[in-house]
């Protein structure tokens, strides 16, 4: 399974903080993102209408990267700490 986490505004809009996706549905981050846009009717708009960063196993990634069973993938808006 791949653990998917959402944070901040994104988590609020999707109404979900985390979910599990089977690895065969999400062999890389692009595939996972595609899967999520089809997960619920309104998710496509929410995920594609705003800047959305991603981290794999708690490290920010910019491009598509391969996933393996047990990975943690997070999606979140640009950060606003400090």
């Amino acid at each position: 399974m791949i653990t998917v986490l959402f944070f901040a505004k994104l988590s609020e809009q999707l109404g979900v903080r985390s979910l599990q996706v089977e690895w065969r549905q999400a062999q890389d981050t692009d595939q996972l993102f595609q899967y999520l846009t089809e997960y619920k009717a309104e998710w496509a708009v929410t995920l594609t209408s705003q800047p959305c960063l991603k981290a794999v196993n708690q490290a920010m990634v910019n491009n598509n990267i391969a996933l393996k069973e047990g990975d943690e993938v997070a999606f979140f808006p640009p950060v606003t700490g400090g």
């Binding site: 944070f7 901040a8 800047p51 997070a74 808006p77 640009p78 606003t80 700490g81 400090g82």
Partner: protein, 149 residues
């Protein structure tokens, strides 16, 4: 020392922790506070969310990057999460070095990267009670260009 915490921190305690060695000639501290006005609207308070685990890794990584570039004898990064109100302390970065140039540069570098890379998100409560997620500033991204090698 790196800490992500709900409780407040004390400037004097953190300063004295940094002033730990007789080879230290310069201590620079940065403290970020909750302002009453942001992007033109009045803020009554703030809630800070973060990504536990990734946040700490990210802060460690930023401090390590700074240590490669500058001579740092001691460093502290504290970032609060949870509920905060006007004038509350949000973040502390303190750097102790032999010379001031290193301490200034490392402290500002860490803040600039923290602002754009560390997974924290602020949600403001405005005067009327309405809440709003703070938008990332483009200027914070641009600021990073000054650290290009």
């Amino acid at each position: 020392m790196i800490s992500v915490q709900e409780q407040d921190f004390n400037q004097q305690v953190e300063y004295e922790r940094l002033r730990c060695q007789s080879s230290i000639g310069a201590i620079v501290t940065f403290t970020g506070l909750v302002r009453d006005i942001n992007d033109g609207h009045t803020v009554s308070d703030l809630s800070l969310e973060h990504y536990p685990g990734m946040t700490e890794k990210c802060l460690v990584d930023i401090v390590e990057k700074a240590k490669v570039r500058w001579n740092i004898i001691a460093s502290t990064v504290i970032h609060r999460v949870g509920h905060l109100t006007i004038n509350d302390q949000i973040v502390f970065v303190g750097i102790a070095s032999q010379h001031r140039g290193d301490a200034f540069a490392a402290c500002e570098f860490i803040m600039d990267y923290l602002k754009t890379e560390a997974p924290f998100w602020k949600k403001e409560t405005m005067e009327g009670g309405e809440t709003k997620w703070v938008d990332a500033r483009e200027s914070d991204q641009k600021t990073l260009s000054k650290w290009a090698l």
